[in-house]
């Protein structure tokens, strides 16, 4: 843990929350994004809305901790509790600004794998896509979240569950997925962007993390903001006191964070 004020996952949540802009419609899935949306709508993005593939639409935090999108506090006083075809149709017609995705593996083009990996020569089966493939294909932009662990950064992912960019240098231009593709990867140590070719670059390191150390986890030479003409590698802002208090209100026992 990089700080005694907050955990790595608390920082990931507040960093993810900042990727939601005011007025956005965010597609929220499992785990950390459940908390991140609630932080965003309570701080800088009061007019953001969240949709959840089970059919929930919300404009406000749940009044109680939620383990899943379907926990009753997330259904209670929602803007709407509808169905998956409705929510996925919003996504497919281009109305979702940002979606959140996790993954067991990611490559330099933001292709994500949550289906199966190779561990010590044998296939390990993971739970699968859920709605991740759909979000990856069709959201205007996606934010990827994962622990900063070398085994998760792959030259080539074992299975493309959720497409990122093509490897032809044209990002999404010749790619069959209509959405905009990944805009950020937030790990437990750093935040990465994707350049116009669709390739990952280091945008900021989290407080206490070291650039060399961060980049050493990757099997390829990761470029930095400087390398791609996007300014300098910043230090990721720490969670504010207000943000931390909100995270701990929404996740009082630190179940997710």
């Amino acid at each position: 843990m990089a700080s005694d004020r907050y955990t790595d996952r608390e920082l990931m949540v507040t960093t993810a929350a900042r990727e939601i802009e005011d007025g956005d419609t965010a597609f929220v899935g499992m785990r950390l994004p459940l908390i991140a949306f609630q932080v965003a709508v309570s701080t800088h993005a009061p007019d953001a809305m969240a949709v959840y593939e089970s059919g929930v639409v919300r404009d406000s935090p749940a009044d109680g901790f939620i383990h899943t999108m379907c926990d009753l506090p997330n259904l209670d006083r929602a803007v709407a509790t509808t169905d998956m075809i409705d929510i996925m149709s919003r996504l497919q017609r281009g109305d979702i600004d940002v979606g959140f995705l996790g993954g067991a593996e990611v490559d330099r083009y933001g292709n994500l794998n949550t289906t199966r990996v190779n561990g010590e020569g044998e296939d390990i089966r993971l739970p699968g896509s859920g709605g991740a493939c759909d979000i990856a294909c069709m959201a205007e932009r996606t934010v990827l979240l994962m622990p900063h662990e070398p085994r998760r950064f792959a030259e080539e992912v074992t299975y493309v569950t959720s497409p990122g960019y093509a490897d032809d240098g044209n990002g999404r231009n010749n790619h069959p997925a209509p959405g905009g593709g990944p805009s950020a990867l937030v790990t437990s140590k750093a935040t990465f962007g994707f350049d116009e070719r669709g390739e990952l670059y280091l945008r900021s390191v989290h407080p206490g993390a070291d650039v060399t150390d961060v980049l050493a986890a990757f099997p390829w030479e990761v470029r930095t903001a400087e390398d791609v003409g996007e300014g300098v590698v910043e230090t990721t802002p720490e969670p504010t006191d207000e943000e931390l208090e909100l995270v701990r209100t929404f996740d009082p026992d630190g179940f997710w964070t």
């Binding site: 996925m88 089966r125 739970p127 493939c133 759909d134």
Partner: protein, 297 residues
Amino acid sequence: MAASREPLDVAVSRIDAGSTVAAGLALEHSIPFAVGHELLRQGVNDLSVIGPISDLLFDQLIGDGAVSEVRAAWVGNVSAGTGYRFRDAVESGEVTVENHSNFSIALALEAGAMGVPYLPTRSLLGSDIFEQSDQFVETADPFEGEQIALVPAIEPDWAIVHAQRASPHGDVHLWGNTGIVEPAVGAAENVLVTAEEIVDPDVIKSDPSRVAITREQVTSVVECPFGAHPSPVAGHYNRDNEYYLRYNRQTETESGFEDWASKWVYGVADRDEYATLVDADLEITSPTVAAEVQYGQ
């Protein structure tokens, strides 16, 4: 063409071994666990299970050897991640998996419900869900020439739904998010509805816009309070998260799963006895009452 109102064991006895069964359709909400456990008690096996994210139900069916095929987008434990019985069964080749995204399974059932051979989507292309499968087709839209994917219909033998209330005829009030309940019900040959309450038909007819399922689709309707535990049911009970975590810890090994099943499935005669084993406080303590709605003439 009304449903039969009958006890859970009678209703479940209608489901043959080898059936294709869609369940867990409202995602983490109102999962028909009572039916799942009764399927195991009756030894119904060789099932092909169909669903979006099953959150334990499929893991339990798989763990007990009732499943030969999984057609789903996600199988695991939403509170804890891995569904160990699913994982082991896939890795050992005991079950085969047809990988879907949530939307592709939704569209497959919606195509079945609409009575068309397929539905088109802008999802899937560029993923290995598409590339490593021969179930989907890529085609050029004849209007604008765009490349799109076609998802063929799935028409399950059974869809299983747990709802808040139903009439003895099989007309069903369901609220809270419904996921892909309606596509699955429309697509299925038979529907088994369990409900927290069986109510007078007048209750259902007092609010026809609340009706999510009508009787002609329903084969059996069963009064089954607490039938979705440990998943939550809007207006009835909260999610029993501790149960999910305990299940995760207990079922990492096959023998652990057997211990779990011997208590929670085989150790009880029925759902009433099951309920006596649950000690969590899941009561709705802050009810929200829906604003009044009138019809009339």
